[in-house]
Amino acid sequence: MTAAADGGPLLTAAGLSVTFGVGSSIAARLRHEERVLRAVDGVDLEIRRGEALALVGESGSGKSTLARALTGLVPLDKGEIRFDGRVLPGRRKRADQRRIQMVFQDPYSSLNPRLTVGGMLTELLRVHHVVPRNEVKSFSRELLGLVGLDDEALAAYPRQFSGGQRQRVAIARALALRPDILVADEPVSALDVSVQATILNLLRDLRAELGLTLMLISHNLAVVRHLCDRVAVMYLGRIIEVAPTETLFSDPQHPYTQGLLAAIPKMTPAIDDGGPAIAGDPPSPLRIPAGCRFRTRCPIAQERCAREDPALLVSAGDAAHSAACHFAFSAAGATAGPAGAGPAGAGPAGAGPAGAGPAGAGPAGSAAAGAAG
């Protein structure tokens, strides 16, 4: 939809893990439970210069934690983050902090209620020496203009703004440091429907205007489809599929992605009285299933899935598309294929209840996956 990313990786995450300690160790020992919550559990991800990358997943999938880890807001447990080819240290220097900035979900709690917008921006610009002191005021005005607010906003407190305007202030604050990457964590989900569009359009325009690299975290796939070039799907702390937006929506490979797409309420609902797109609840991140972590809810899970944890593998036919499922890309050619409906292996979980049927796809899938692996 938008201009393609124009280059190599700007940020590369390798083997990223973030864990949190939960509860007391004694209680954990008594209940024979692992005491650590693996919020992000071995993530490899690349953000290319100039692209808009979406991170989608359900609550508890670790998408916000991953975003915070990339921004440097939570310490890493394992793995490394490279920015512009250089490994970022655990404790970032101020100059590095500037490069990745974040916009939070709730503009009611993410702005200091005791500071005027002008005060907020001035403090930031001075601490980081973004512009010479005598230009702080004019640069602040410029920033507000960029997000579509008047100069009068400089003297106003956050409480004087509506939700949409507050989110604009939050975006201006993030842009104040001239970041390379803007990470937006559910930037519109706290806003009313009619206001969401203004913020989404603003993000899209800012990208075009400033050549910003955007990472959008969202549970709303319609928003993602509107704004992003590439999508990474997370499930229980792992990225399970990555593809260009349109490829992901037209030819999803992972059964979870297929279910997620089928579960979205549509304006024109398909008439089907079949079962739900995905049954059951996601397991707790305290008890991640062995083998494939999706197998407990997967419609095509087999014995092998309980034994082997599938790696995120690139499709043989499409280098931009990868998935972490033993049965992905089973028709070898991936995107090609005269059937049009995508590879046969994509059928079973599929949107409709009348898919290709797991029986037919299963064996074919395992054979092909065996060859690919």
Binding site: M1, E58, S59, S162, G164, D192, V193, S194, V195, Q196, A197, T198, L200, N201, R204, H219, N220, L221, A222, V223, R225, H226, G259, L260, A262, A263, I264, P265, K266, M267, T268, P269, D273, G275, P276, A277, I278, A279, D281, P282
Partner: protein, 330 residues
């Protein structure tokens, strides 16, 4: 079966009297699902709460009728309403964790309604609760019967809420954003469950949400609220695809639709009206691109249109033209 006539709800606040619901009328036919859509502050939740007489302390119904099978519920005392709540009308809330009793076993909470309202004995009520848990898709009900709400996931808690709402065989279930707090795959499960219950048991739903596609999944009828008033109503599909009110049109165009990717979303300019001092004339006119001079002074009534539809726009033909222009451009 349920008919709301000219309902007015006012809330006393420091800034003055808030006219949260200002003359809303609609009816729900047996076995039908009606969706009420609007933004925060449109009065949709207040309308729902007024039906069941569970308004917050500062709010009161100042005029109008809520007719259930011909009987007006508005003048009833709480003790009389208690005979209606449960066997006739029940409600599902947005946040099951705060609606359920945290220190009472789930099974007992489901069994409580039939014991109190229908006078069924404890053992029989427990059997009924088990059956309900099975019906709403709670796996392993015998074990889960003795669990507490905190042991359940969000989706399972909402299933418990639905089981409680069903426990006294009501004619109508009022749903206040029942899936807003849930993930999309869980939302899908709950919406399918509600649609199935509606189909199989003939219970009617009134479904309040801000999410247009969600309404399209479950409801046959749609009512759109803005600034405390009903601005458009009709069959879901027709209203969403051929809006007859500029606000509905604005909602449809500003929401990213999964099936229909637009180059640019068209936001509705401005912000919702104050309900203390609402604008004169049509409440939507300050944000409406079709507004003309008469919209500033004339308060538009809800007019009936062919096909079971209704609109409160003086110039709804402009919506038709706008939709047609967009279609031919594509």
């Amino acid at each position: 079966m349920l008919e709301v006539r000219d309902l007015h709800v006012q809330i006393a606040s420091r800034r003055g009297l808030v006219r949260a619901v200002d003359g809303v009328s609609f009816e729900v036919i047996r076995g039908d699902a009606l969706g009420i859509v609007g933004e925060s502050g449109s009065g949709k939740s207040m309308t729902l709460r007024a039906i069941l007489g569970v308004l917050p302390a500062e709010a009161r119904i100042t005029a109008g009728q809520v007719l259930l099978d011909g009987q007006d519920l508005v003048p009833l005392r709480q003790s009389d309403l208690n005979r209606i709540r449960g066997p006739k009308i029940s409600m599902i809330f947005q946040e099951p964790m705060s609606a359920l009793n945290p220190v009472m076993r789930v099974g007992s909470q489901i069994a409580e309604g039939p014991m109190v309202h229908l006078g069924i004995g404890r053992a029989k009520a427990a059997g009924r609760a088990l059956e309900l848990m099975r019906r709403v898709g709670i796996p392993d009900p015998e074990r889960r019967f003795r669990a507490y709400p905190h042991e359940f996931s969000g989706g399972m808690r909402q299933r418990v809420m639905i089981a409680i709402a069903l426990s006294c065989d009501p004619e109508i279930i009022l749903c206040d954003e029942p899936t807003t707090a849930l993930d999309v795959t869980i939302q899908d499960q709950i919406l399918r469950l509600l649609a199935k219950l509606c189909r199989e048991s003939g219970v009617s739903l009134v479904f309040v949400t801000h999410d247009l596609p969600v309404v399209a999944q479950v409801c046959q009828q749609l009512a759109v609220m803005y600034g405390g008033k009903l601005v458009e109503s009709g069959p879901v599909r027709e209203v969403l695809h051929d809006p007859r009110h500029p606000y509905t049109l604005g909602l449809v165009r500003s929401a990213p639709d999964f099936d229909n990717v637009r180059e640019s979303l068209v936001p509705i300019p401005g912000s919702p009206p104050s309900l203390v001092t609402p604008p004169d004339g049509c409440r939507f006119h300050p944000r409406c691109k079709f507004a003309e001079e008469d919209c500033l002074v004339t308060e538009p009534p809800l007019r009936q249109l062919p096909g079971g539809r209704a609109t409160a726009c003086l110039h709804y033909e402009r919506c038709i033209e706008s939709v047609e222009a967009e279609r031919s451009a594509q």
